[in-house]
């Protein structure tokens, strides 16, 4: 008897699970059917969501690409060592060789003051003016590249050490541009994050409003279903699925838009890379990125629908 009761309740549980599953399938199919029934208005919703998601995602992809370029520079820091005016060319060359033997220095390049003057006159066209000077105003220069694995502060220490030497007039660490670039990137990432956050919020609200309209359109049906015993979850389900479909479609559209704009940029970027003798190629979203975008869209759709449903469905009661 006891066993019979237990197995009966188990079948009942399985029945309930099956009917729950059945209604999920039914709601999913029915709401997908409703979404596809009005292809133009659904397409508009998908496009709005797609564009709103594609904007931050596309910018982020662009930034990721920019970051791969900036980290591919192998020697981020260089120290320009300007020597005192009275240092002879020979001493300067000796110093260049001596510095090159140090462990913390990867490379040194000597630019003599005569080379610098010649270069300056050809570049500027002031050759007459320069020829009239009775002495060369330019100093000898040694470009010192610290080892790339050294941290930023070892380069700074090296710079201080070089600065202290008597032959050296000034040692300049060319690192500021890199710091500037990095903080610019950080700033851009935050701007994208903020804009992305706003747009994501917009997407949720747009979807919430779309679902609210769907609820309004089916008000009579909701009343009838509640009158003949449909639970809140039963009434809620098709609308949550509607939100899901709008979100998934929007995510798909945004993945497509990002892919399209990267394809549009690919050729000029490759040409540019070729001109800079770089083997840089643009990196897209990839299949996983696209799928993530679709999943994200789906989640946003669900949350928009949940928002609308929680606000509007309970107010519809049989009167």
């Amino acid at each position: 008897m006891g066993r019979g009761g237990a197995s009966q309740s188990r079948t009942r549980l399985r029945d309930r699970y099956n009917s729950w599953l059945r209604h999920h399938r039914l709601s999913a199919a029915d709401s997908l059917h409703r979404v596809l029934e009005h292809p133009w208005s659904s397409m508009l919703t998908w496009m709005v969501i797609g564009i709103a998601l594609a904007l931050p995602v596309g910018l982020n992809v662009a930034l990721d690409n920019a970051q791969t370029i900036s980290t591919s520079w192998d020697s981020p820091a260089q120290i320009s060592v300007f020597l005192e005016a009275d240092v002879t060319s020979l001493t300067a060359r000796k110093l260049t060789l001596e510095l090159a033997t140090r462990d913390d220095i990867a490379k040194t390049v000597f630019h003599s003051r005569e080379d610098a003057l010649a270069e300056f006159s050809t570049l500027t066209g002031f050759s007459d003016v320069l020829a009239s000077l009775d002495q060369n105003p330019l100093p000898h220069l040694i470009i010192v590249s610290p080892h790339a694995d050294g941290a930023q502060n070892t380069a700074a220490l090296l710079q201080e050490e070089l600065q202290a030497r008597p032959e050296v007039a000034q040692a300049v660490l060319d690192m500021e541009w890199l710091a500037r670039l990095n903080s610019l990137m950080e700033l851009s990432r935050r701007i994208i994050l903020a804009v992305g956050g706003l747009l994501v919020m917009g997407v949720v609200l747009i979807l919430g409003n779309t679902i609210r309209l769907a609820i309004e359109n089916r008000r009579d049906e909701i009343v009838i279903v509640k009158l003949i015993g449909g639970s809140d979850a039963f009434v809620r389900r098709p609308f949550l699925y509607t939100g899901l479909w709008f979100g998934v479609g929007g995510g798909g559209i945004s993945a497509f838009l990002v892919g399209l704009s990267l394809w549009f940029l690919e050729r000029p970027v490759n040409n540019l890379a070729l001109l800079y003798q770089s083997d840089f190629t643009i990196h897209g979203l990839g299949i996983m990125g696209g799928l993530n975008l679709i999943v994200l869209g789906g989640l946003l759709g669900l949350s928009g629908a949940a928002l609308a449903v929680s606000r509007h469905l309970s107010s519809i009661q049989p009167r």
Binding site: R22, D220, L227, I228, G229, R319
Partner: protein, 221 residues
């Protein structure tokens, strides 16, 4: 089956819809509820459906005091009651079949069982051949019969009807009433609100009469 114990219902504006109404409807009974509009017929149906709660008194349905049924338990409670509405309340974007199937879908029957039961219900109301039709293509009497098929498809123990013949001519009205009698004969408790006295007095069932919220006849069994 259904018992009203000194039920009063006062709406916010101070209007008394029901005053101290008591009656009992036994299982297998068919009872008419009549009175002018505003006499409280609909309020009684709404109290049974738990669309309203009484201001005073206790309603008991199938042995359960309704005040013990909380908001979350209402859907489940309603599944055991079939309702026929005056204006049919059909879903006009779905076929006759889908309209009738709705209560079964809500209860979670699998689709073979749904098909079997929907066809049986449509057969009983004489609309088996129209299962693929849209409600808009049907006459008023046919639409009402779809509404009845939907009300009985899940085999409820209680069937409520609010002016089910409101917009129908006398011949169709009599036909609809005979349909209710047929369901009553197979053991369904039926309560029909109707102001068509000429029709219901011919049918020889108990008639509960309300006037301005008070029960004036038919309360005693």
């Amino acid at each position: 089956m259904i018992s009203f114990e000194r039920i009063s219902k006062r709406y916010g504006e101070g209007h008394d819809a029901l005053r101290e109404v008591s009656f009992k409807i036994e299982k297998d009974e068919l009872v008419f509820l009549t009175g002018h509009s505003g006499a409280g017929k609909s309020t009684i149906l709404r109290l049974i459906m738990l669309m309203e709660r009484p201001t005073r008194g206790e309603v008991v349905v199938n042995g359960r005091p309704l005040r013990k049924i909380g908001p979350r338990a209402i859907p489940h409670y309603r599944r055991d009651i079939g309702v026929v509405f005056q204006n049919h309340q059909l879903l006009f974007d779905r076929t006759v079949f889908d309209n009738v199937a709705l209560p079964l879908i809500i209860c979670g029957y699998d689709h073979r069982e749904v098909g079997r039961r929907v066809r049986a219900a449509l057969d009983k109301v004489g609309l088996l051949s129209r299962e693929r039709a849209m409600p808009i293509a049907l006459s008023g009497g046919q639409q009402q019969r779809v509404g009845i098929a939907r009300a009985i498809v899940a085999k409820p123990t209680i069937l409520l009807a609010d002016e089910p013949t409101g917009n129908l001519d006398p011949a169709l009205s009599a036909e609809i009433m005979h349909l209710f009698e047929a369901f009553n004969q197979v053991g369904v408790t039926v309560l029909i609100a109707s102001h068509d006295l000429a029709l219901i007095s011919r049918l020889h069932h108990r008639i509960i009469t309300l006037k301005q919220g008070k029960l004036i006849a038919g309360g005693a069994h």
